[in-house]
Subunit: 196 residues, 2 copies
Amino acid sequence: MTDGVVERSRPRDRILETARDMFHKHGIKGVGVDAITEAAGTNKMTLYRHFESKDELIVECLRANAAKAGAMWDAFEAEFPGDKLAQLHAWVRKAAAMLNADGRGCDMANAAAELTEPDHPARLVIRELKEVQRQRLVTLCRDAGIGQAELLADTLSLLFEGARVSVQTVGAEGPSTQFVRMAEGLIVSFRGTAAG
Amino acid sequence: MTDGVVERSRPRDRILETARDMFHKHGIKGVGVDAITEAAGTNKMTLYRHFESKDELIVECLRANAAKAGAMWDAFEAEFPGDKLAQLHAWVRKAAAMLNADGRGCDMANAAAELTEPDHPARLVIRELKEVQRQRLVTLCRDAGIGQAELLADTLSLLFEGARVSVQTVGAEGPSTQFVRMAEGLIVSFRGTAAG
DNA sequence: TTGCATAGTTACAGACCGGTAACACCCTAG
DNA sequence: CTAGGGTGTTACCGGTCTGTAACTATGCAA
């Protein structure tokens, strides 16, 4: 898929999807609204009829990303209903797959790196959405019967976050190759300790 | 320290130092050369006499950062001469201190997030410099008599990298608070396995 | 005193940025 | 058939960006 996403759907959806793709590939400040609308097969006026500013478009893109991530969690539950430990391992596999998907890190983290104004609207939603994801992982670990669920969840999440930026800086052949091994080792090690 | 770094040194040094500071705080694309030269107490022509482009200035800033990081490693050796394990613990403490220093992550990682063109000159030096740092940590772990030195070094480095972006996204009260605990636990655990 | 390298000043080029105004077009609902 | 909302088109605004030209001022060294 190049930048030209011009399926026939409603302009707002095309703009949102195209912006998500282009922000991901080229960064937020690396893409202008003209380029987005052109790739989406529409024009600037239509964009500004649906989004009051580029900043609002950015926020909506981040929310759309989070929604997609939420669907991922639901897929784990659907695939291994009730088996929380299996879902945790599925999370590890999915995370590893994302590392090899492309060399770009987490869109939220990248956005946070670019948008430095402390009160930028995007910063609030990033914080909020990241907090949700953290909580989901903590809950999963706890429900999987792991003792220090918060500590394991936070460790896994830091490892994953670190692996994503590592891929972005040194490439997929760097430290991130060991991610699955690290994560699985941690889970084993935490399961060995006293469970709830 | 605000953005105005106007000590009386040679213009090139002032520009480099000011650019480093401003790139760190506001991101690379968030700072123009005009703003840099003004904060450095000089002017655009002088900048372009010393650096052939903004891209070259960026690269020089990253190299300066790496040099500062190199000095940090030398400080460990100076403080605990020959005691590699103590140096490893010093690295953990230093890393934790950097987490609480300010809410901005690693300049190299941030630059990689912003500069998405695959053949951007900065991407080469980022890769090169990150590789050097990785190797230093691996060597330190190995010389500290740890068995799976590469695995420990890579795990610690992913944890640290992840903690830095976590601070940038959810703040210093997020998962990164557990960094020292995680790192120390890992070192203990790896020392328990067969050593070199 | 002369000569030269370094640095400062002003102005500008050319491109791109986010955002808006005014107006013409279509499609569909009534 | 008609009215109106969503869409497309063109042109524009003011601002900022990197990078350069032409010229002046400064300080040091022979």
